[in-house]
């Protein structure tokens, strides 16, 4: 006998209300994006696609989109790859496994604001940690501006996020690899397959769910990067490290252009939904008996 649903429905209510508020706000935001705004004041007149056209005319918007795609590729691929390889190498560790897991995972507990403060110092051209170490090794660091150099600033920033999230990928893949049968790997070992082959031709195809989780979660993270940009560069040099989530805030609160801010957030919504919805369809299976 199970409890009847009518009695317990009250348990579900708070979450239903919260989720309804969230989706209500998303719809509200959608309406705002199609409304003519007089600075901070809504006229509630239908604007059609005006806000979007204004947005698409900005070169800044397209630079932001490009930067977001740089993030997608250069954040997700290395983080997933290293996490995966590390998870495999962890098999050799046995008892020290927990200690090493902690070492790679601790940055996950830090705030982006802390990571950003820390790495902004590490990258500082004049008195940063990296240049001081390189200088100590006798390397001329005069040209190594890291985060201050327009062409590589965004990669420096992505690297600090990579440092923070490798532990996440590691933990996900450790779980996924543990779920595989030992017999499969043993058999490959006996067949004389090299470690590279075992890793990429036998294990990788069988931990697809781990890869899905990792890439989706990291992809969503790239749609949230705001704190890191704020604290490390403020979008600079110029707008070379600006990304959509940061521009959305700037448009709305610094330039008081809510119409365009809302339009930007709709672009973010579309990109994020394209990542979250397929994942969610797959993920809900684990909660349904």
């Amino acid at each position: 006998m199970k409890y009847s649903k009518a009695y317990g429905f009250i348990f579900l209510m708070p979450v239903v209300i919260a989720v309804a508020v969230i989706y209500g706000m998303i719809i509200w935001n959608l309406v705002a994006a199609f409304t003519i705004w007089d600075g901070m004041r809504a006229t509630w007149k239908f604007a059609g696609l005006l806000n979007f056209f204004n947005l698409f005319e900005l070169r800044r918007f397209w630079v932001n989109v490009e930067n977001n795609f740089l993030w997608l590729f250069f954040f997700i691929v290395p983080t997933t790859l290293l996490g995966f390889v590390l998870a495999y190498l962890f098999n050799s560790l046995r008892r020290a496994e927990k200690v090493f897991r902690q070492i790679f995972l601790y940055p996950m507990a830090l705030a982006f604001i802390v990571t950003g403060t820390l790495w902004a110092w590490m990258y500082d051209p004049g008195s940063g940690l990296i240049n001081s170490i390189l200088g100590g090794l006798g390397i001329n660091t005069a040209k190594l501006g890291w985060i201050a150099l327009p062409n590589i600033a965004i990669f420096c920033m992505i690297f600090s996020a990579f440092w923070q999230y490798v532990g996440f990928a590691l933990v996900i893949y450790m779980g996924a690899i543990r779920g595989l049968s030992d017999a499969m790997i043993e058999a490959a070992n006996i067949d004389g397959a090299g470690h590279g082959r075992i890793l990429f031709q036998i294990i990788f195809p069988n931990v697809g769910h781990g890869t899905l989780i990792c890439t989706t979660m990291l992809a969503i993270t790239t749609m949230k990067v705001f704190d890191l940009v704020w604290i490390m560069t403020g979008g600079g040099p110029g707008i070379r490290t600006e990304v959509l989530p940061y521009m959305m805030y700037r448009m709305t609160y610094s330039q008081h252009n809510i119409g365009m801010g809302a339009a930007t957030s709709i672009v973010i919504l579309i990109l994020a939904a394209a990542m979250v919805i397929p994942y969610s369809k797959w993920a809900i299976r684990k909660w349904v008996r």
């Binding site: 006998m1 199970k2 409890y3 649903k5 317990g8 429905f9 348990f11 579900l12 708070p14 239903v16 919260a18 989706y23 706000m25 998303i26 509200w28 935001n29 050799s92 560790l93 927990k98 090493f100 070492i103 995972l105 601790y106 940055p107 996950m108 507990a109 830090l110 705030a111 982006f112 604001i113 802390v114 403060t117 820390l118 110092w121 008195s127 170490i133 200088g135 440092w163 996900i172 996924a176 779920g179 470690h195 989780i213 949230k224 705001f226 989530p245 805030y249 709305t252 801010g261 957030s265 973010i268 994020a272 979250v276 994942y279 969610s280 809900i284 684990k286 909660w287 349904v288 008996r289």
Partner: protein, 273 residues
Amino acid sequence: MGDKRFKATSIVILVVLAALWLLPIYAMVNTSIKTQEEVAAQKYLRLPRKVAFKNYLTAFRALRVGLVNSAIITIPATFICIFLGSLAGYYLTMFEFKRSQLVFFWIVVASFLPYQIVLIPITTLIGWLNLMNSYVGLILIYVILNIPMATLITATFFMKMPVTFQEAAALDGCKPFMFYWRVLVPVSIPGMISAAILVFVQIYNEFLLAIALTRGPKIKPVMPILAELKGSQIAQWNIQMAGAVIVSLFPLVIFIVLSEYFVSGLMAGYSKE
């Protein structure tokens, strides 16, 4: 034989990488206790000749109000999230409810969407409710945004409870809330702790809403204050790092002491099982 060599190589690789991963935090703590003169010498990896704890005093003085504010906001928000979220998780996993798949779908989507998507409505809503720059406003918003995640994680742990348990309880005339409070929660304490840690860290580390919904230092949580400290102490790396250490202390201690829960929370929230 090949296996032994592989093992040795992988351990070497892991040790080198681990050292690289620890380097930033070592440098951070090391620099945070140095005097300004020693910092200026830029030998960041060398241990300090003179320990300057007064950096921590300077940083703490700037961050104190922010830390208190963060505690006032984060602790109640976490408790409310876990309580309400676990009630829903209980309902969704243990009751006869045909639509649970659909409800789960919308909860999962809601828990992963970026905050930017609802930022403008949130500030408007909070303005209307006259809760701008108030603890209640921030707590309310954090609860709304984090309840979905709390529901998902607790539900994952509740799934481990055999259905026969509550069937037997129902036959004995145990009311649903009693079952939740007397049986499910005590049995699922590890799951509740995992969920609480994840939600706590998420709220404590949050920055976007913390700056959008506060004006001036009175209510501001600690993350925006640390950001301001970084702006006001330019090139005073020792003060900046001391501030970063103070702010990270609590999440890091939780993480080190309760890391098993942290990991199982991550697995429950994101992974397959």
